[in-house]
């Protein structure tokens, strides 16, 4: 037994610590169970159509959350697509290239992006990002790059859209990805850099061939952490995505996310089934973020414990 041969005072202390330590995972399990139980009636009513159907009609008792699930996944995917190269680039700049005196201040400013309240991002999105997308970016995509004929950028562009949500999420996820990437790049041992340089690698070859591959799984962990952030973000997205429960191929069309759906309907949900349906949306979101985080942890752990074959 772990407690054998320990002084009484230490014993009490150990028990207390162990109890506290067990409370946290217990809490997680309890939340999962509570959500699961509350969500069950909705899952039972809607069946598989809960995740496949687009029909969300509270009066008729139809709960098809597909547009919200789709919107969450797509907006987060756009966010990663935009944020990853930028964040990794910033991290490489800060850890490998920038002069020493510039590193701390810039890193601090990037970290500060994570401290801006999401409602402020939402306001900025409404008053700056959405008009800018409509007036400059969309014409550029259509007229200059001739992407208007592709389904992704077709149809009318009023303003609030999946694209706006993706861009906002990209900015919000960026500091997370870049902070983690910077840490893992700095953790790459001197000996790996020396090995590449001593073989005649240029600085860039050293970065690409020795530093980044060594840090790869840690960087992926950072990206997934950013994804977790994007998946759960509610306020800013709700303010710019347009909140229309439809699946549209065009990124310029409004959309919906699971988090916005819950936030929008929670106050007006009066029937038990409606509440249960919102809980069920929460359960799906919870499951997705849980899986994403587990993968992130695993990848970061792998890089922390050294690369294997």
């Amino acid at each position: 037994m772990i407690l054998a041969g320990v002084a009484p005072g230490d014993r009490v202390y150990q028990l207390a610590i162990t109890a506290f330590a067990l409370v946290v995972p217990a809490l997680l399990v309890l939340i999962a169970i509570a959500i699961g139980v509350a969500a069950w009636p909705a899952f039972a009513t809607a069946g598989l159509s809960f995740i496949t159907s687009s029909e969300w009609n509270v009066q008729a008792g139809k709960f098809g959350a597909a547009p919200a699930i789709y919107g969450t996944l797509v907006s987060s995917f756009i966010a990663l697509l935009l944020a990853t190269p930028l964040a990794v680039g910033v991290a490489i700049f800060l850890s490998e290239i920038a002069p020493k005196w510039l590193r701390q201040p810039v890193a601090f400013l990037v970290d500060l992006l994570a401290a801006i309240p999401s409602v402020v991002y939402g306001l900025w999105g409404i008053f700056f990002l959405v008009p800018m997308l409509r007036e400059h970016v969309v014409p550029f995509l259509r007229d200059t790059l001739h992407l208007g004929s592709t389904p992704l950028f077709s149809g009318p562009a009023y303003g609030p859209s999946m694209l706006a949500a993706g861009v906002i999420l990209a900015i919000m996820a960026l500091p997370y990805i870049s902070a983690v990437t910077r840490e893992v790049l700095l953790a790459v041992p001197r000996s790996q850099r020396d090995a590449a340089l001593a073989l005649g690698a240029t600085k860039w070859e050293m970065i690409w061939d020795a530093v980044i591959p060594y840090a790869r799984s840690g960087i992926i962990g950072g990206i997934i952490l950013g994804l977790g952030r994007a998946l759960g973000e509610t306020m800013a997205v709700t303010m710019v995505i347009g909140n229309r429960p439809e699946i549209s191929a065009s990124l310029l069309a409004p959309g919906y996310t699971m988090a916005s759906l819950i936030a929008n309907e929670f106050t007006e949900a009066t029937s038990d089934l409606h509440l249960s349906a919102l809980m069920a949306v929460g359960a799906v979101l919870f499951t997705i973020t849980l899986i994403v985080n587990a993968i992130a942890r695993w990848l970061v752990w792998r890089v922390a414990s050294g690369p294997r074959s």
């Binding site: 090995a195 590449a196 340089l197 001593a198 073989l199 005649g200 294997r308 074959s309």
Partner: protein, 257 residues
Amino acid sequence: MNVAAPVTPTVEARNFSFWYGKKQALYDITLTMPPRSITALIGPSGCGKSTFLRSINRMNDTIPGARHEGSILLRERDVYARDMDVVHLRHRVGMVFQRWNPFPKSIYDNVAYGPRINSGLRGRELDEVVERSLRRAALWEEVKDRLRQSALSLSGGQQQRLCIARALANQPEVLLLDEPASALDPGSTQKIEQLLSELKSELAIVIVTHNLQQAGRVSDYTAFFYLGRLVECDDTARLFTTPREQQTEAYITGRFG
């Protein structure tokens, strides 16, 4: 070879001094390292052996505040000359570190790294270079069936020989080794010593070692460093039997260091 003609040293330091910021680490080193021979650098910890070694392939360039005076010549050309391309210099001067540092890639990719980036070799040609380098590092027989496996699956001694193979793949003119066997078991150490003795027919080797027996066994010339100065450099047999300087004698008889 014309016996009368003096041999051009592969590496030659002329009045070389080195500073880490304000701290001077090397004082006025003048030393020649002939081709096809092994030169051992010995001396107590902190006397500047690694600093000197890393000055030859300019690995010290990456240290902020590092500064030098005097020159180091590689085949009569100053490695610190303005028109010397550092990348090309490191291609010509291989280096093996105390702590083996293979990339977390396959055995093959480790050895192929240098030729790939330096001469863009591919395919059959690259296979041949990899095989030849592994053979020269006495590792081929042990790894020929597992070239695609991770280098990190090898034992410590094998990883160090892989690092030697990786350096040899660039066809260097000089091989610098900084205590290559100090963290290895006697068996692996012996393999590396034997391999160095075989390699010296092809290139100049400079090895830093704390193990005086090792210096005695493998090297042709030995240079004794003390507090950043070169105390004496001589034929290994002579330096160990009849050192000229008292400090050298004290060191090799184990009275300090």
